[in-house]
Symmetry: C2
Subunit: 195 residues, 2 copies
């Protein structure tokens, strides 16, 4: 899936009261999501924060694990974290991958809320390969702000579990969604090659 | 899935060199895995550590989020963490849930390695409901020790991604496996009720 990208959004996201905020970085998000991206073959992972101190913090984590002692001790972690680029806005991430692919990107919002125009993982998997790059945005804190969701090209349906409880960590949500897309993508690829 | 249980094993697991060790608790594991358990309707989540100071640490986390201020601020987190029981060994977890269900439990090992007798998520989903309780063991650190895996009734096949990179965090692995089992279980339940 060499045109599927992830973006972890720290602004604009909401807090518990619904206000739009810029959230602080959680360094374990970088590790877990980069490892999932590497496992499922996502092409890249943008960490999006407008806060300069948080950009510096992300840079320090990456330095330690890519060029520093962490990377020598754990080359698998280095391999995963090399997928990360730190950018100040989602627009910057989109511009970066459009410049790389020389094609318009499709932006995909994820949300625990239900939107009438939401697509399934199967439908999203169908768009991968057929067009330009696809970038999925995941919200930290209490999730992506509604205006952000509404301005994305696509919205992915929420992960529905069993008990109407849907308060997964963003780390879990990214992992599950990548697995679902990868499974559907493999199914579609196999299916197409059999025709 | 009211007879599916999770166990997060801190002993016996391996370190990078393959030695069997008791690993330290990572408190975010408790949160992420409990939230995934609540989302997918797992009946309970055993945190298994023989180390008294680590059992105390787990107890302090649970106190804060269940009876303390955390639970009042975030009732969803309280609801998830209430699924946790801290026990000293996997045997103790098995004895506890066998006493509750008055039936023999099926133990399931998870591993990033391939075992010839490994079952798929579909096959595992078929065993849920048909027998007594099922408890899936997940290893921290570099994974469950091989003797532990071999003594389990079943072994679940590893999560295979795309790039032969399978170094997911245990938090991601639990989330993906619960999603796969839940999807298969829902499919089987729907299928059966249509017959």
């Amino acid at each position: 899936m060499n045109n599927l990208y992830l973006a972890l959004i720290h602004h604009p996201v909401t807090n518990k009261k619904g206000d739009t905020i810029a959230s602080a970085l959680t360094t374990i998000d970088l590790h877990d999501i980069a490892r999932a991206a590497a496992t499922f073959g996502a092409a890249g992972f943008y960490v999006v924060t407008p806060l300069e101190d948080q950009m510096r913090l992300a840079g320090e984590v990456l330095d330690h694990w890519i060029t520093g002692v962490g990377g020598r001790l754990n080359p698998f972690r280095k391999q995963a974290l090399e997928k990360i680029k730190v950018v100040a806005s989602f627009e910057e991430a989109v511009a970066d991958l459009e410049a790389e692919h020389k094609k318009k990107a499709t932006s995909v919002a994820t949300s625990a809320a239900r939107y009438s125009r939401a697509v399934t993982a199967r439908q999203l998997a169908e768009t991968i390969d057929s067009n330009g790059p696809v970038v999925m945005a995941f919200g930290t804190a209490w999730g992506l702000s509604e205006p952000f969701v509404n301005q994305c090209d696509l919205i992915l349906e929420p992960i529905s579990g069993w008990d109407n409880y849907n308060h997964l960590s963003v780390r879990s949500a990214v992992s599950i969604i990548l697995d679902r897309i990868c499974m559907n993508h493999q199914y579609l690829t196999t299916n197409t090659s059999q025709v």
